[in-house]
């Protein structure tokens, strides 16, 4: 079972990295959260039944872990929501336009609540409302309502920054 688990996680690790990107500002936090999600996936893997898609189950465990993760107040996150590591990455890999957009995205997302972050992540990952509802455990109607609010909130935040 361990081999099977390692194979499937290696193939789908992108999901965990994306969840970590949206919930963590600092590299150290990101590493901790990655490990925490990995452990939770391993622990609950025996209870995974193929009633839902593997990626749906994986998103649920990863997001649940991120939302309920317990961080001691040992590190102060960067209030701008843009980590030093991300800034460096941006400088290395993107042109200035994309870099600005990423900064803006990080800054805006850091102002969202835990649940809002999970919904916007799934929206950005092109998930349908039905699947977002299945992953987050809230109804499709409320996902729609929440999504509209998040869009407005993000627009407002990004306009303030422009």
């Amino acid at each position: 079972m361990e081999k099977e688990f390692l194979q499937i996680i290696t193939e789908n690790q992108g999901i965990i990295h994306k969840v970590c990107s949206i919930y963590c500002d600092l590299e150290e936090d990101r590493r901790d959260l990655f490990q925490e999600i990995l452990v939770q996936l391993w622990k609950s893997y025996p209870s995974f039944r193929s009633e839902s898609k593997f990626s749906t189950w994986m998103y649920r465990v990863a997001l649940n872990t991120a939302i309920t993760s317990f961080k001691k107040d040992k590190r102060q996150p960067d209030k701008t929501g843009v980590s030093y590591e991300n800034m460096q990455l941006a400088e290395e890999l993107y042109d200035s336009g994309v870099e600005d957009q990423i900064k803006m995205l990080n800054q805006a997302v850091s102002n969202l609540t835990g649940i809002e972050k999970s919904i916007i992540l799934l929206f950005l990952e092109d998930k349908k409302y039905e699947e977002i509802a299945e992953i987050t455990g809230i109804t499709q109607n409320y996902v729609r309502v929440k999504m509209n609010r998040i869009k407005k909130k993000l627009k407002l935040l990004m306009n303030q920054e422009e």
Binding site: E2, L6, Q7, I9, T10, Q13, G14, H17, K18, C20, S21, R30, D32, F34, Q35, E36, L38, V39, Q40, W42, K43, S44, S47, F48, W57, R60, V61, L63, N64, T65, I67, T68, S69, F70, D73, L89, L93, Y94, V98, Q101, I102, M104, L105, T113, G114, I115, L124, T136, G137, I138, T139, N141, Y142, V145, K146, K151, L154, K155, M158, E162
Partner: protein
């Protein structure tokens, strides 16, 4: 910036992030081997330790009540020391309360533990963690209450015994002490006991809140946000 720009920025950013942090099977295996304890794991461990400690304490109280105390006094003091009769009901009552609360706590905890899983619906998961934390807090305050009761009983018994030995040494009787002397003894006793209890209680409470207070607030806020979804749902 429009939302479609946001999506394309996210696609670029997330794919670069995934590539940058991608791990091999060995690295993932290594991370699993060196797994750290999550909050729920740590609380679970603390609760189990707490259960064992309380279990040992209750066994000690029972043994002490039955024969240990009498045996030790016989060996150490070499004279008959009477346990204050007025403290006996308090002692029995507090021990009974502790045993009942302890059993209630164990049953409740096992029930929560049975239904807890990270792949539950978020609301159920949050309620599960909240219940676990609340149970932990209850156990913590139970331990604090035991400690404080112990301080009161031991202190009062100590003062009473000390007084008795003192008066015996001058061939006197406690009953012969004047009211003003008794008041002074009670006053001094309370002046020591009350601050001692208050400081113990506040330090322990502060420690608990410092560790879990903010986390509980965050859980409550998230739950509130999810509960709003239920209310708004009814409007549609």
């Amino acid at each position: 910036m429009e939302l479609k720009d946001l999506k394309s920025a996210w696609d670029t950013y997330s794919s670069q992030e995934v590539d940058k942090h991608r791990l091999g099977k060995e690295n993932i295996h290594e991370l699993l081997k060196n797994q750290t304890k999550t909050l729920v794991d740590r609380i679970d461990r603390n609760i189990r330790i707490g259960m064992v400690v309380l279990g040992i304490y209750l066994t000690y109280v029972l043994l002490d009540y039955l024969f240990l105390s009498a045996y030790l006094i016989k060996i150490l003091v070499h004279e008959v020391v009477e346990y204050p009769k007025m403290l006996e009901p308090l002692d029995v009552f507090s021990t009974a309360i502790i045993i009942i609360t302890y059993l209630f706590f164990v049953i409740r905890y096992l029930k929560i533990k049975k239904s807890f899983s990270i792949d539950l619906q978020l609301k159920d998961l949050l309620l599960g963690i909240q219940e676990t934390l609340k149970t932990y807090r209850r156990m913590f305050y139970l331990a604090v209450a035991i400690l404080l009761l112990n301080i009161i009983v031991s202190f009062t018994a100590g003062v009473f015994q000390g007084l008795k030995l003192q008066t015996n040494s001058v061939n006197g009787e406690i009953a012969n002490l004047t009211a003003s002397k008794i008041l002074i003894i009670i006053g001094v006793g309370l002046a020591i006991l009350i601050p001692l209890m208050a400081v113990t209680f506040f330090i322990l409470r502060w420690g608990f809140n410092k560790l879990y207070g903010r986390y509980l607030i965050r859980l409550n806020e998230t739950l509130q946000e999810l509960n709003e979804s239920g209310k708004e749902e009814q409007l549609f």
